[in-house]
C-alpha cells in the first residue's frame, strides 16, 4: 500500500506542478484512485483529522470567500486605493508605496488573489492618469500581497493548513509572523525605490489628473458598507479571542459569513460568484493524497529522513525548511508543498517528536513557502493573476521581467527571516 500511495501521490504532484492538466482534476483524480484501491477508507477520508479532508481549512476558506464576496460589492477597496493615490499627490513612488501597503494589509485579512484582483484595476486607472507605466506597480503589488499575506492565519492558504494541523492560533501568527513581516514591508518599500527607480517619472501636468478622481463615487451602498465592516471587525476580533471564546477560525468565518448574508439582503448569486469552488475541491483532493502518505507511514519516513539530515539540530532543521521551502515554492505551487510538509513538521514538533514544542519549525516552513513564491511569475497565485491582468490591459509582463524583480525581493525577505528565526527560536 505504501508503494501505491507514493506512486499515486507522485503522479498527481507532477501533474499539478507541471500544470499539464487542471490541478483540480489531478488532485481529485489522485484522491479517487487512493480511495478506489483502498489505501484510504471512508472513515479515513471524511472523519479522520490525521488522514482525511481538513474541514476546518475548507470551511474557513469558504467563509472568508463569502465575506469577501459581500465586502467587495461595497466599493470600499476602490475608495481606499483612490483616496491613497490622492493623498500621495499623484507622485509615482508615493502612490506605489501606499498602494503596496494597502495591498499588504488587505492581504493579511483576505486572500492574496482577491486583493490583487481588487487593487489592479485601480492601479491601471491611477497609472494611466499620472502617465506612468503600470507594470512596476502591478509587480510590486503582487510582491506586497505575498509578503502581507504571510502575517496572519487567514492571509495565505499555507497558513490555514499549518494552523489547522498545528493548533497554532490567530494570535500565535500575529505574535510570531506579523512583526517580521512588518520589517520586511519596510525593507520592501526601500527596495522598490531602488528596483523600479527608472519608472517614477511622471508628467507633472498629468499628475493633477489623479486629484480629479472622486473616490466617494466608488461607494455603492453606504449602509451595506457599514454593516460589512462591523461584521468583518467582529470576525477579526473573534479570531483574536480564540482563547476566550473557544471558537475555531472556521466556525468564526462561517458565523461571520452567515451573519453578513442575513443582514446584507443581497441575492445569493452576487456573493456566491466569488466562491472559488475549484480551490475548495483542490484542497479536498490534496488532503486525501497527503492523508494516504500519513496512513501508510511515508510521512514518518520523511520526518526521520529530515531529522537524520539535520542531525537533530533545530537551527539546521529551520534553515533547511526555510530555504528549501523558498526554493521549491519559487517553482511549484506552495499549497501542495505545505500540505505535504505540514504532517512531517507535525511529527517533528508534536508531543513525542524529537523537536517537541519547537514551533520555530512551523514559522520556518511558512516564511519559506509564502515568501519564496515571490521569486518567479508562477511562484504564487497572485503573481499569475497580476501578469494575466497586465496582459489583458495591453501591458504584458514577461516571465523574466517579473522574476528579475521578484527573485531579489524573495531573496532579501528570506534573508531577513534567517536571523529572525535563528535568534528568536533556537
Amino acid at each position: 500500500m505504501m508503494l501505491a500511495a507514493i506512486i499515486v501521490f507522485t503522479i498527481a504532484y507532477v501533474l499539478i506542478a507541471s500544470e499539464r492538466v487542471n490541478r483540480v482534476a489531478a488532485a481529485l483524480g489522485g484522491a479517487g484512485v487512493i480511495l478506489a484501491i483502498g489505501v484510504l477508507g471512508t472513515d479515513d477520508a471524511f472523519f479522520s483529522p490525521e488522514t482525511g479532508i481538513d474541514w476546518n481549512v475548507i470551511f474557513l476558506l469558504f467563509g472568508m470567500m463569502v465575506i469577501v464576496g459581500v465586502l467587495r460589492q461595497t466599493g470600499v477597496f476602490e475608495y481606499v486605493a483612490i483616496w491613497a493615490a490622492k493623498r500621495a499627490g499623484g507622485r509615482p513612488f508615493r502612490v506605489m508605496t501606499l498602494l503596496c501597503l494597502i495591498t499588504a494589509v488587505a492581504s493579511a485579512g483576505l486572500d492574496n488573489v482577491t486583493t490583487v484582483l481588487l487593487i489592479a484595476p485601480v492601479t491601471l486607472l491611477v497609472c494611466e492618469r499620472i502617465g506612468v507605466r503600470p507594470v512596476p506597480f502591478l509587480i510590486a503589488e503582487a510582491l506586497a500581497s505575498n509578503i502581507g499575506g504571510t502575517a496572519t492565519l487567514v492571509g495565505d492558504p499555507p497558513n490555514l493548513i499549518v494552523a489547522s494541523r498545528s493548533g497554532l492560533t490567530f494570535n500565535d501568527f500575529l505574535v510570531n509572523l506579523a512583526p517580521i513581516v512588518f520589517v520586511m514591508l519596510v525593507v520592501f518599500v526601500g527596495l522598490s525605490r531602488f528596483l523600479f527607480r527608472k519608472d517614477f517619472t511622471a508628467d507633472p501636468d498629468q499628475v493633477a489628473e489623479v486629484m480629479k478622481l472622486d473616490e466617494r463615487e466608488a461607494i455603492q451602498d453606504h449602509s451595506l458598507l457599514v454593516r460589512s465592516l462591523v461584521v468583518l471587525a467582529m470576525v477579526l476580533l473573534a479570531f483574536t479571542l480564540h482563547g476566550v471564546l473557544g471558537l475555531e477560525p472556521s466556525v468564526v468565518a462561517l458565523l461571520g459569513a452567515g451573519t453578513l448574508i442575513a443582514i446584507s439582503g443581497l441575492r445569493p448569486q452576487s456573493y456566491l460568484v466569488d466562491i472559488e469552488w475549484e480551490t475548495l475541491l483542490f484542497f479536498a483532493g490534496l488532503f486525501l493524497l497527503v492523508g494516504s502518505l500519513v496512513k501508510t507511514g511515508v510521512i514518518d519516513h520523511l520526518a526521520s529522513a529530515l531529522i537524520a539530515a539535520t542531525g537533530n539540530s533545530l537551527p539546521v532543521a529551520m534553515m533547511l525548511l526555510l530555504w528549501g521551502s523558498a526554493l521549491l515554492s519559487a517553482i511549484v505551487d506552495n499549497i501542495p508543498f505545505v500540505a505535504t510538509m505540514a504532517p512531517v513538521v507535525d511529527q517533528l514538533v508534536g508531543g513525542q517528536g524529537p523537536l517537541a514544542g519547537q514551533n520555530g519549525l512551523w514559522w520556518a516552513l511558512l516564511l519559506g513557502a509564502d515568501l519564496g513564491g515571490n521569486a518567479t511569475a508562477i511562484g504564487a497565485s497572485a503573481n499569475v493573476v497580476v501578469t494575466g491582468i497586465a496582459k489583458r490591459s495591453g501591458h504584458p509582463i514577461s516571465f523574466w521581467e517579473f522574476t528579475r524583480y521578484g527573485s531579489v525581493v524573495a531573496l532579501v525577505t528570506v534573508a531577513i527571516a534567517t536571523p529572525y528565526l535563528l535568534l528568536r527560536y533556537s
Binding site: 484582483l117 481588487l118 484595476p121 480629479k212 478622481l213 472622486d214 473616490e215 466608488a218
Partner: protein, 150 residues
Amino acid sequence: MLAGEIAEPYPVVGVDTSALVAARLLASQRLPGLVVTDLDGSPKAVLPASEVVRFLVPDYVQADPTLAGVIGEDAADRIASRLGRATVGELLPLRAVEVPVLKAEDTVLELAAVMARLRSPLCAVVDDGTIVGVVTASHLLELMCGDPVP
C-alpha cells in the same frame, strides 16, 4: 425567398479602416454592426456596434465597473480618442471566429439559423466571393413576422 433576393446594400469597412470612421458610420446610420472585409475584399468578420462600445471602455473599468463612476464625465473625450488611434482590425476578437456569410441562393431559414448560431446582428450575402448585400436581424424579423404594427 432566397438570401440574394432580400439582401440590401450595406456599408462595408476594411480591416485597415480607422476605428473612428467605423464608429461614426455606425452612429450616423444607427447600424447594429458592420461587415468587415479583409485586404483582398473577402468578408472577414461582423463587427457589432457593442464591440466598438466595448473598445471604448478601458479594461480596468470592464474589470471593475465601480471605477466608471470614479472617473467622471470629463474623461469621456479622452476615452473616445482611443478610437482615433486604432483600426477596425484591432477591434476584432483576437481569436478567429466564424463569419456570418451565406450564398445568394440560401433560404431565409438558413439565414436565421446562421444568425442565431453565431448571435450576429447581421449576415453578409455573397455571390462568387463578392458581397452582394447584407441582411440585418431586424429585416429578417420583419420578413418572418409580418409587417410592422401601424
